[in-house]
Symmetry: C2
Subunit: 321 residues, 2 copies
C-alpha cells in the first residue's frame, strides 16, 4: 500500500457507464491507489445511486486519505455538461431529463465536482498521463460499444458553446447509409466503426459468404472479438469486415483532420484490439482523402493508458489537469 | 477625410487573392480610412509583388499616418500559415513552394506582420467588428469561387498543430461524389457549394430539363448570379440547383456542429446572395442530420460586414484583435 504524503492531492475519479460505474482514488502523479465498481442501471432514482456510490467509496476514503481532504471529484458520464454540471437526456442512463449531477455529488461528498462526457474525460487523461502528453492539438476517438470523441485545440478541450462539442461518432460518413439503431440517423461513423457496427457488418457479410469461418458461430456470438479470432486465422471475410470498418473510420478521420489539423489521433477502446486489421485501412483512407497539405503529418496512435484504469484516470484529470 | 489622433493605432490590412490584392488602412475602431487594389497574378516573382504593393501603399501611409508609426500589417492569403508566416504551396498564387511572406513584408515595410488564410482572417474580422462580436464559439464559412472556413473555439481561432486547420471546403460530404476540378478529391463540400460547384450543378440540370430558363443563357454565362436571376423568376430548375446546393451545405454543417458545437455559423461570400434559396434547405438538412441535443440551437447568420471591406477588416483584425 502506498503511503500518501499530506502534500499529495488525492482525487476521486468516476466513470459512469450505462451498465457499470467505476471509481478510483488517484494521486496527483496519476497512480490509481484503489478502485471499485458498482452497478449503474439498478438505481432508477439518481439519489439512490448517489447514496450507493457514497457508501462504496467511503471505505476507500477512510483507508487512503489519512485525515487529509479529498481534493475533488471528476466524473466522466454520457451527456455530461462541463459548463453546467448537469447530465442531460442521456439515452443510456436510467435517469431521465436534466440531472444536476455535479451538485448532487458535491452535496453528498462535500467537495467540488467537475463532470464531462466520457470521451472528453479520456482525452484529458491522455493529456495528463498518457500518449498526448505535451500535445496542444489532438483528437481522441473512443471505439467501444459506441464511438465517442474528445477534441483538444490550442491546448484546451473543445466544449462548444453549450458544453456538448465532440460528438464525432454521430457525424455522417455515408449520407443515406446504415440506419443507426438508436438515433435513427443514416450513415453515422458510429453505425460502422463501433463494436455494435462491426457486429452488424460481420452478420451481413457472413450471410453473403457461406464459406466464411464467421458462420461457425451462433448469431449472438458475432462481435468484434470473434471477428478478430477469424481474421487472425486468415478468414478473408473477417479481414474484409475490419477493412471496411477501417475505411469508414479513415474517411471520417480525414474530415476531422481538415477541421482541426491535429498532431495526432488517439484511438482507445475495445475495437482497437483488432490492431492493424483496422489501423492499416484507416490510415490508407485517411491519407487518400486528405488535401496534400495535410498528408503524412498526422500520427494515429493507440492510447497510452491501461484500459482498465484509463476511464478513472481521465475523470480524475478533470481535477488534476 | 478623418483626422487620426496620435493615440489611435492604424494598421494595414491586406487581402491577397489569386487575381487581385486589396489593401486598406484601418483604424482601431474598424474604420477603413483608405484603400486600394493591385493585380496579383502579373507578378511572377514575389519580390516584384512586394515592391509593387509597397509603392501602391506608400501614398496612403503618407496621407494618413501624420508621422505616427504604422502599428502592423495583417494579411489574409491562401495557404498562409499563422505560426510560421509562410505561404506554402498555394495552388492559386503565382509563387511556388514555401514563401517567407511575413518576413518579406516586414523587411520592406519595417513593421510586424501576421498572416493567415483568408477565411481565418474573415473570422477574426467578424469577431472584432462583425456578426460574431462576443462569441467564443463559431464557424465562419466563406462561399465564393471556393469554400473556405475559419473555426473559433474557446474564443480562439483553431490553427491546428501546423497552422493549417479549417479546410472545411475540402471535407467530403458525398464519398465517391463529384470530382473536384483542382484537388481531384471526390465529393468535397467545395465541389458542390462553391460558385464553381453551383455552375456545374446548373449546367448538368439544364441539360436534363430543356424547359428551364437556364437554357436561355450561353454556357459561359451560367453562374450563381444567373441561376439566381432564373430562380427569382420562378424557374423550378434554378430553384432546384440552389436547393441541392443547400442540402449538401446543410449536411456538411451538421457534421461541423457535432464537431465543435458553435453558437452560430456565419456565412460570407458571393454565393449567399442566393439568400433563402440556399439558406432554407441548408437549415433543413443541417437540423435533420443533427443529434437531438444540438437541434434548434445553432444560428446560421450572414456576415455583418460590408463585402467590399470585409477582407481588409479581417486582415487588419490579426493585428488589432
Amino acid at each position: 500500500m502506498s503511503i500518501v504524503q499530506p502534500s499529495d492531492a488525492i482525487v476521486l475519479g468516476i466513470d459512469i457507464g450505462g451498465t457499470n460505474t467505476k471509481f478510483g482514488l488517484v494521486s496527483s502523479s496519476g497512480e490509481v491507489l484503489d478502485k471499485g465498481t458498482l452497478r449503474t442501471n439498478i438505481y432508477k432514482d439518481i439519489n439512490d445511486f448517489i447514496d450507493a456510490l457514497y457508501n462504496e467509496v467511503l471505505p476507500l476514503l477512510n483507508k487512503h486519505l489519512n485525515g487529509n481532504p479529498l481534493a475533488g471529484i471528476g466524473v466522466g458520464v454520457p451527456n455530461g455538461n462541463f459548463y453546467t454540471g448537469t447530465v442531460e437526456y442521456a439515452p443510456n442512463l436510467p435517469w431521465k431529463g436534466v440531472i444536476p449531477f455535479s451538485e448532487l455529488i458535491t452535496n453528498r461528498f462535500g467537495v467540488p465536482c467537475l463532470i464531462t462526457n466520457d470521451a472528453n474525460a479520456a482525452a484529458r487523461g491522455e493529456m495528463l498521463f498518457g500518449a498526448a502528453k505535451g500535445m496542444r492539438d489532438f483528437i481522441m476517438i473512443t471505439l467501444g460499444t459506441g464511438v465517442g470523441s474528445g477534441i483538444v485545440a490550442n491546448g484546451e478541450l473543445v466544449y462548444g458553446h453549450d458544453g456538448f462539442a465532440g460528438e464525432l461518432g454521430h457525424t455522417i460518413v455515408k449520407p443515406g447509409g446504415r440506419k443507426h439503431w438508436s438515433t435513427g440517423s443514416e450513415g453515422s461513423l458510429e453505425a460502422y466503426a463501433s463494436a455494435t457496427g462491426i457486429a452488424i457488418t460481420a452478420k451481413k457479410m457472413r450471410a453473403e459468404f457461406p464459406e466464411s469461418m464467421l458462420n461457425d458461430y451462433p448469431e449472438d456470438a458475432i462481435n468484434s472479438k470473434t471477428v478478430f479470432e477469424c481474421a487472425s486465422k486468415g478468414d478473408a471475410i473477417a479481414i474484409e469486415v475490419f477493412r471496411y470498418t477501417g475505411q469508414k473510420l479513415g474517411e471520417a478521420l480525414a474530415n476531422f483532420v481538415m477541421f482541426s489539423s491535429p498532431e495526432a489521433i488517439l484511438l482507445f477502446g475495445g475495437v482497437i484490439r483488432a490492431g492493424d486489421f483496422i489501423l492499416n485501412p484507416a490510415k490508407l483512407h485517411m491519407e487518400r482523402n486528405l488535401l496534400p497539405i495535410f498528408r503524412n503529418k498526422v500520427k494515429i496512435v493507440f492510447s497510452g493508458l491501461d484500459e482498465s484504469d484509463a476511464a478513472i484516470l481521465g475523470a480524475s484529470a478533470l481535477i488534476l489537469g
